[in-house]
Symmetry: C2
Subunit: 333 residues, 2 copies
């Protein structure tokens, strides 16, 4: 079933069919109607490869996922992100192309665009100094970064306001009476880790409390429950603190477990604030006060910005607001 078949069946030329499909005008309403009917009757869909080849554009947006599952797990909202993107993409007749970084190969992200499988890329696991950004710019491949990594030159991005997140989490802990707040942060080298620390420090400044570097701990790699547990246990031995801000809800549940195991009560003795607001956070006991990020919106904006770039429009990076979800882990009563 090709455009020729449709043309024949509708008794017009392929050019006319193409004009109808692409709404280019200059077609007699009568003819147009006949063509549309024929298209539907024959169940014709224009061949994507042919169109793509001819127009030199694929209408695909590429995502490359790293080979190890780690990052996936530490990005609990991946599905929500994809869904946010999808809504925009399908409205504009784009689709998502997902490729996986092959073992041993490191340039799948380039390949997907160079091949013409995607017109642009979304990068969502970029570390400070990531050299992929330079490669993409060198090859002139449009892309949008989720987050704001350092030392990678300039680029368009969509991020949540991690600085504010760090600030309101810390501020809230001050509000419920904490004085020395343990901060279990994400891995070094991530933009979010840096921004959340800034927020944490700013909250100290505004409160007039001196910032004690020793209270900030970084997870080695994965922000999972296990590491939250271990780091908290260690901190309990090392130093004194009266509240915890944990940069990730899975980690936070680990911290909660360590606190309770030490005979302390989460909330009453040690208030805890998490980050992310994963479904889990409402369900644990006590439920977890946490910072919620509009991940769905991140996906939406990333898609919109990228598509605007592809259409040569002026685009602006975006930082989306976050807010505190108050639950029981910070109630003293």
């Amino acid at each position: 079933m090709t455009i020729k078949d449709v043309a024949r069946a509708a008794n017009v030329s392929v050019a006319t069919v193409s004009r109808v499909i692409n709404h280019l005008g200059n077609v007699d309403p009568e003819t147009e109607k006949r063509v549309i009917e024929t298209i539907e009757r024959l169940n014709y869909f224009p061949n994507h490869s042919a169109k793509s080849l001819r127009t030199n554009s694929s209408n695909g947006i590429g995502i490359v996922i790293s080979h190890d599952l780690d990052y996936f797990i530490s990005f609990p909202y991946f599905v929500e992100f994809i869904h946010g993107m999808s809504a925009v993409l399908s409205d504009l007749d784009y689709h998502l192309v997902i490729s996986t970084e092959k073992k041993g190969k490191t340039d799948s992200y380039l390949e997907i665009a160079a091949k013409g499988l995607a017109d642009g890329l979304i990068l969502f696991d970029v570390m400070d100094g990531d050299e992929r950004i330079f490669a993409l710019k060198k090859f002139g491949i449009p892309f949008v970064v989720i987050g704001r990594p350092n030392n990678v030159g300039t680029y368009e991005y969509v991020d949540t306001d991690n600085e504010k997140g760090g600030f309101i989490a810390t501020e809230h802990l001050f509000e419920v009476g904490c004085k020395r707040i343990l901060f279990i942060n994400g891995p070094k080298g991530h933009a979010a880790t840096r921004y959340r620390l800034s927020g944490y420090i700013r909250a100290h400044k505004e409160k007039g409390i001196e910032y004690d570097e020793r209270l900030v701990r970084y997870v080695e790699k994965n922000s999972d429950r296990e590491n939250g547990y271990i780091l908290t246990q260690k901190a309990l031995k090392d130093l004194s603190f009266d509240g915890i801000f944990v940069s990730g809800d899975f980690m936070a549940t680990g911290a909660m477990a360590a606190i309770e195991e030490a005979g302390l009560r989460v909330g009453k003795d040690i208030p805890i604030v998490g980050f992310d607001d994963v479904p889990l956070s409402a369900m644990v006991n006590p439920s977890l006060t946490t910072v919620r990020q509009p991940i769905n919106e991140v996906g939406k904006h990333a898609a919109m910005i990228l598509i605007d770039m592809l259409n040569g429009k002026h685009v602006e990076s975006k930082v989306l607001d976050v807010f505190l979800v108050r639950r029981n882990s910070t109630i003293r009563e």
Copy 2:
């Protein structure tokens, strides 16, 4: 950068370059070396659309996600599933194409294949009697179904052993002394719902306990915490039971909350078994005994079967084993 540029630069014809790229042999080792070097020097990647157009195959596997987020949320392992698929796909040089069901349109799943964007589809939200299956067969589009819906003719599928899951969950509850087990099942019309019920019934038969239909409740639509809570509360009024099997861990946390609110203790008074083993399940208090499904493997097998189909190989549907993860929600002590 096209195959012509490479041919010119390597001083051969496009045919020879193509032979090298596709490992078709009949190329002088000397020439081959020169061509490979040229390809790498020029950073050439064959145009996907051209190849796809000519060979009439896209190397894409399609997934269409429904427009509402509901299903997504009730499929907590979506990411794991995608990741399982991805590993296989990238090894075999396939990629994933994700499209979203457009508002008002209902044939995105057909379109994606008819356009030639994907060579085959994975369907993972098929209800009993879903008419998409018939359409796909009519158009000769290869596909693999996740799950085993009824009344949709024959098809290839990958599923987890939900019958066994229902059985071992129920059996375990009998083992810890339950006699009347409330079963909060998923929505009617889903294959998993049916199979889990069969397992539940079989466990009764083997134990010699009469199966009481009134103990089985179905959630209306979403297997979420809210509905688990509501159904359990209602059951507490309606009937007597001494254990609960909940067809989904999110729902199970709702059930746990309702039980505790009623002044009963989960485990000691009312043991509860869930299904899915989402990350949450290990973190709630008490931790949830549940049935674990190898979702990653489901993704892997779905990809393998579909690709085998595309290559005209003989394929066999697959049912993957499940197992019980024993935690504290079924400890009496």
